[in-house]
């Protein structure tokens, strides 16, 4: 009779940490830390953020102003991220926050940006070896001091982080501070490469454009980040649909030029999941350009195009974002459905932009494009959840038409000689003979 024994299939911490952190870029790791704070800032408002329509109406609420401040400080060997949101209670920390992954029972209707229960830990592990987290909560917060290298050597199961409780604090005194020190060499090099902080600021401006307007203020190194003001003309096409517990609002129109130019970074599709920017200025097959099923291949003439896709669900895991929240799960059914709507909504705008260029040359001047766009509004405001169609501007009937024909070079030369204007050129010969016929044969 063979013995039945249990083979060890438990994960090795070092491998786990390595796998977890390898595929996330440093900027995305910082965004994961910020997500944690933004999620806490939005928690009190979760009741009014259930559908795409709710998000858009909330965005338009003039009474709502950011109350939570998130500050990020980056130095040679230390990163600090601090917020004055509601904080994390010791109970929540003990049972949920540090658990890798979320069980079904843990589903919270107040979470908007917490999806897989992995982002915070992954970001902490990505940055450095020494992690200190301190959170103040009205029910009592906690302290965490973690040396990752030492923790990785502990073989006991189950995995846990030792935390100590903190006293209860009054409303207004809550918040969380995370300090990561003993940064890894690659991280130190990257944050000192001259462009990292700029990239982080840009990513924050883009990713949290929605939240920066109404819920949070974020400063990096003492300077507040202004959210990207994604603006579109009020003449837009829009559509919406519901797929299970996910609602989606799609809008396409013409962006706003800056200094007379339509900018590359403000052109293409912008995808949001629960208000968080996931994809920006996409002009690839991901959003249907040049796929043969949606819009044509993106060309420079489409630069004025600006489309937004706004997914919302109380169950963040049903949204079509990847685990890093910086990309789309292309196989997701809700994304596939959205792509079909995006093609329909975008097509009229693209057709209008295509019609600017014909065999006869540019038919619609750049300023006419701006006029066709309509009044300048926020792209989020424009994403009203009512079906609308892009109104093609009425174009006046053309008063001129180009006349072209071939003539023998020798004949053109003969006309030039007859007119005693050698070198006047074929175009001028054509114009002269046309006017001659019009005047003498037709009569003006």
């Amino acid at each position: 009779m063979p013995d039945r024994i249990m083979a060890d299939a438990s994960p090795e911490k070092r491998l786990f940490i390595s796998l977890l952190t390898r595929d996330i870029p440093l900027v995305a790791a910082f965004l994961d830390l910020i997500d944690n704070s933004v999620n806490a800032a939005v928690e009190p408002h979760a009741g009014r953020l259930k559908t795409a329509s709710d998000y858009i109406q909330t965005f338009q609420d003039p009474e709502l102003v950011p109350e939570v401040e998130i500050s990020i400080s980056i130095s040679d060997n230390k990163v600090i991220i601090k917020d004055n949101a509601g904080g994390i209670s010791a109970g929540t920390a003990a049972e949920h926050v540090f658990k890798f992954g979320r069980s079904e029972e843990e589903e919270s209707v107040e979470d908007r940006l917490s999806v897989y229960g992995i982002g915070l830990k992954r970001a902490l592990f990505k940055l450095g070896n020494k992690i200190r987290m301190q959170s103040d909560h009205v029910e009592g917060g906690f302290d965490l001091d973690l040396d990752v290298a030492k923790w990785a050597k502990i073989k006991t199961q189950p995995w846990n982080f030792p935390i100590t409780t903190r006293e209860m604090v009054a409303v207004g005194k809550t918040g969380t501070t995370i300090t990561i020190s003993d940064l890894y060499d690659d991280v130190k090099r990257r944050i000192n490469d001259g462009i990292f902080e700029g990239e982080l600021r840009e990513a924050i401006a883009r990713t949290y454009a929605y939240y920066l307007a109404k819920f949070v203020r974020i400063n990096v190194g003492g300077t507040f980040v202004e959210g990207d003001s994604l603006e579109v003309g009020s003449n837009v096409a829009s559509d919406d649909f519901v797929s299970g517990r996910v609602t989606c609002a799609i809008t396409a129109g013409i962006g706003q030029s800056v200094g007379g130019k339509f900018r590359e970074r403000s052109s293409g599709w912008f995808v949001f999941c629960n208000g968080r920017g996931v994809v920006s200025a996409d002009k690839t097959q991901l959003t249907g350009w040049g796929s043969g099923l949606g819009l044509p291949l993106f060309q420079p003439k489409h630069r004025p195009f600006l489309g937004t896709v706004f997914f919302v669900s109380e169950r963040a895991d049903l949204l079509p974002w990847t685990t890093t929240k910086s990309g789309i799960n292309e196989d997701s059914a809700v994304w596939q459905e959205a792509k079909r709507h995006m093609a329909t909504v975008g097509r009229l705008v693209v057709s209008f932009l295509d019609s600017r260029y014909t065999d006869e040359g540019t038919e619609i001047a750049s300023k006419d494009v701006q006029e066709a766009a309509g009044e300048r509004v926020s792209a989020i405001t424009a994403a009203v959840v009512t079906k609308r169609t892009f109104e093609l501007p009425k174009r006046p009937a053309p008063t001129t038409v180009r006349v072209q024909y071939d003539a023998k070079v020798s004949d053109v030369k003969r006309v030039e000689q007859y007119l005693r204007r050698p070198g006047m050129g074929a175009a001028e010969v054509g114009r002269h003979t046309f006017h001659f016929f019009l005047k003498n044969e037709v009569g003006e």
Binding site: R189, G194, I195, E199, G259, E264
Partner: protein
Amino acid sequence: MAPRSTASHLSYDLRPAKQSERRMLLDILKSAGDIGLPISRYRYVGMGANRFYDFLLIHRYLGLTSMVSLEHDPKMLDRAEFNCPYDFIKVIGESAATFLGYDTYTDPTITWFDYDGGLSPQIVRDIVDLGVKTKVGDFAFVTVYGGPPRALEALNAEARLAWLQDEMRAVSGLIVREDTETAEFPVAVHKVLKAAFQNAFAARRDGKFQFLIQVEYSDSVPMVTVGGGFVADGQASALKSKIDHVMPFLAKDKLYRIKSLHLTERERVVFDRAVTKRSKNSSERRLLKRLGFKESEIKAYADLLRFVPRYVETIV
């Protein structure tokens, strides 16, 4: 196109702020010599135009005898060659980019690209190339016009910021709207140059790029100079502390504005005494206050005491 550099309509001899900047640079290189780098054996690569002022100073005060002057404008090349003061200066009719592309010099080099024009993607690319070409022990400095390019003059802050982001790309990330105002534009230029230098050397593991000078000066138009040394890790801190000691006003890792103080000779005599006296309430200091000078101007003069030139009329 940038406004005319003062070099084209104001004699070099009458550009005190530019001269102060040159003297600071000389001090930096002299400090590098003090910590053991064989500066006199270095090669100098610059943009001497037809005056070669920096070449003259560097030879005279530091003893360098291997020099290259780049002249990208074919119309100026003949004049540059004609005015070349020393036989050991090689005048080359090429741009910085072309020169860096083929230069394989193996001995230590001091490079100073003193561009006449404003910020451009090409200048950023030149700095990136410097990051590849520079050897441990080398020095690299870049000077550019600090005002907005002419194309931006009529644009509002939003459009200026958009231009900078679109043209300068990754190195523009720290620029904020306020930096695009004409008076603050040198701050935007400084942010771009600093980011370009940091990024150019970020991946190098054989040394450390130590910023040694980050200054703005103006004789009639604003100019910005940023640069430093790519040195071994141990030397970086020694060099930094040496320069912090001799030029403490450059110690902070930010843009220093060289004030243009238009003083009479009599005023300078009083300034000289005021800033070298320990007392903050000396008769000279009180006199300067009575004459309407501010404390910030006295402080600026104290910083620049060794560097502001003194001009006299003479017959050669």
